[in-house]
Symmetry: C2
Subunit: 218 residues, 2 copies
């Protein structure tokens, strides 16, 4: 059965984006600290950086990183995550990920200004649409061929799906740093835990992995 | 050496107080959920509820609960935690804890309207003063006889000491519920982790125990 999944890295104080980007440091130092333990995993190095040298960590963090890519049939992301807020004026913009985007499945990009789809040889296919979360999810399930649908981000997009009760599985990797600014994941999510089984696991890196799994309907 | 310690229960979204109190439910349902795993420990039942029947949980949560009372020489709390915001007009108010307050050490209550000290037979002694965090801490260390000083709460008082870099050891028991309202512990604490060794441990109850321990001065 198709499950709708979310994976995010957040700070201890709940921020999923950072604000210290500069032209010379386009991701920012905070982003590096927020994602350092994920980026260090063998899975990330293989799957995103295309380093097939066996380097990278293989413990708890890597187990969650591997799950991130398992059984994925389609992804949904917001316009900002694809880069349209910065590059929307460029009709040739193909996303941040070069010619081998790590998705390898259809990706729906939610935007009020849809553009033609973009195909990559590795199976990644960006399709742009203006739709409600519920309608976007229906389309993603068609594309997922029985695989799971991941709501990739950013946090605003994730929250929209969480608030409508559309997410079956939420994994947050909580990094023990306090950012104090950025996009706060938990805004407007009081009581989210109802209907989920919540578990947590600590990694030697200091990251706490929290998972919210939808309980089976009674 | 005297250490300055903080222990708090917070929700996953960082709230350390709750807002659903009513006259008929003076602590509120949310408070019960925030403290349930702590209240269930053997230590809490013995030390606060005076139940010496050996009941209560004895696992990870109880280990942290026991530490809460270890080596304590004095405590500092805000006026609200003592009850002065509600009962300040009553010169006979002796706090929430009955005739056996669980502190058993001198307690400094920070208030702009100091009142005479109150003594209890079990060693608890409330002393009221109007002072900066730094000055209050100096007085508490005098009273602590070489034991530790705990900043007991509420969160506003705790934050004032954290922001001034006065806390050596912070323990937060993070409960996997989203309250969405109340006093947000993390306000204005960006970068708090600098200078601390941060560790986390997960309890079977679902609570994540995070500890910030001051690294030894180099």
């Amino acid at each position: 059965m198709t499950r709708v999944r979310v994976d995010l890295n957040i700070s201890l104080d709940g921020f999923a984006t950072t604000t210290d980007q500069t032209p010379n440091n386009p991701f920012g130092d905070d982003w590096g600290r927020l994602t350092a333990d994920y980026v260090a995993t063998r899975t990330f190095r293989e799957r995103v950086l295309h380093m097939a040298d066996g380097s990278g960590t293989t413990g708890v963090d890597d187990r969650y990183a591997a799950r991130y890519f398992e059984d994925l049939g389609a992804e949904i992301m917001g316009a900002a995550m694809f880069g349209l807020h910065l590059h929307g004026d460029d009709p040739g913009w193909r996303g941040w990920w070069g010619e081998e985007p790590p998705f390898r499945v259809p990706v729906l990009v939610l935007t009020h200004a849809p553009r033609p789809p973009i195909h990559f040889e590795n199976g990644t296919r960006f399709e742009f649409l203006s739709a409600t979360p519920r309608d976007a999810l229906a389309r993603a399930k068609e594309l997922a061929s029985g695989g799971d649908v991941r709501i990739g981000g950013g946090p605003t997009t994730v929250r929209a799906f969480l608030r409508e009760g559309l997410v079956d599985s939420l994994h947050v990797a909580m990094v023990p740093i306090l950012l104090g600014r950025g996009e706060w994941l938990w805004q407007g999510l009081r009581g989210l835990e109802a209907g989920y089984r919540v578990e947590s696991e600590t990694a030697p890196s200091g990251v706490t992995h929290l998972t919210f799994e939808r309980e089976a309907a009674s």
